[in-house]
Symmetry: C2
């Protein structure tokens, strides 16, 4: 079974989901398909927003920063609130798209760690270079995707596809039978659905 | 230990939380404090919205209706999508506020069931009359709160208090040490925090 994991590098709640997904998926025999996309164009097209909703609506932002801190503590994940929010994940998304699925997970995790643990600028090629190296990739080869016209187009197409599926936030999970789940707190549900095609308890029916 | 449970009668995700809260709280030795408020004024003041965000942003609405259906199935709770959304919960909120805490739970549940199982108009005094009766209350005495100036003012004050706490959605849970959690999917976390003052796993530290 496969589960599509749609994420945006700037997204706070994508961080714990990215760090947790592979182990949970493995335990259930599910394969994660990493699907980077850009949330900015969707926020703008769907809600007329030119910034993160957490900045547009400060009361939601205040809650989110406290909630993500508690959430990471719950999962024993290190977390430091980054100075810049949201960060520009365009280059990281392009690089991810250029990699085969099997190589994406480690790079994705390294970039999220740079953003949400080490407070680094993830649009900076030096930081992406270090993330590629940490993921066991050839950094120079990997970074060439940043300016590839093919990859640029592919990212535009993937972002359009996200909108077509009904995605409006990140992380979002899509099962093979087309069920969509939104949020780190739906990761377990999405994986269960990927395996069983329902969330209904076994004792029922 | 006590946990404040802030809810709005129109709110979809409040329904499963309302139906689940007492049993989960009892199992942890926590007492639920039912706190009705009006979300409409908060949506307007905080986000400039004159309708539910699920109507203002249709793509979020589509997702929510599917997600609430799945969520209720997961908890074995009956659910039928109501014709009217959002409903007007003003009278139900006033009635709830006029009741002592010990009598609130059953009335609150009866109103949510009228809305999200039986698709009844919860602003209709006949429906509220039936809900009061089902909750074991004296219906006529109970319904007199609908026009009480004291209760009207109290509801305005409670709604202002919700905004002061930082509430922007429902259900929201507030612990005695002032920690706020938003959403049915945070109910267990909120209860755990009410008991232990942390979400950190026992094995960590």
């Amino acid at each position: 079974m496969k589960l599509q994991f749609w994420f945006e590098f700037a997204s706070t709640y994508s961080y714990p989901a990215v760090m947790r997904a592979e182990k949970l998926a493995e335990g259930r025999g599910v394969e994660i398909e990493w699907k980077p996309f850009l949330l900015g164009p969707l926020f703008h097209a769907q809600q007329g927003m030119k910034d993160s909703p957490f900045n547009v609506v400060p009361i939601k932002g205040s809650y989110m920063w406290r909630d993500i801190e508690r959430t990471c503590e719950k999962y024993s994940l290190p977390f430091r609130r980054p100075q810049r929010f949201p960060q520009n994940g365009l280059m990281a998304a392009r690089i991810t798209l250029s990699l085969p699925q099997a190589e994406r997970g480690n790079f994705v995790k390294a970039v999220y760690q740079a953003n949400f643990i080490h407070d680094r600028d993830i649009s900076d090629p030096q930081i992406l270079h270090a993330a590629a190296r940490r993921a066991g990739l050839d950094p120079l080869e990997t970074l060439s995707a940043m300016t590839s016209e093919t990859v640029k187009n592919e990212l535009r197409e993937e972002t359009a596809r996200a909108a077509d599926i009904g995605i409006f936030g990140a992380p979002s999970f899509v099962t093979e039978d087309g069920e969509m789940f939104w949020g780190n707190d739906r990761l377990e549900d999405a994986l269960d659905w990927a395996v069983r095609g329902t969330l209904r308890p076994n004792t029922q029916n």
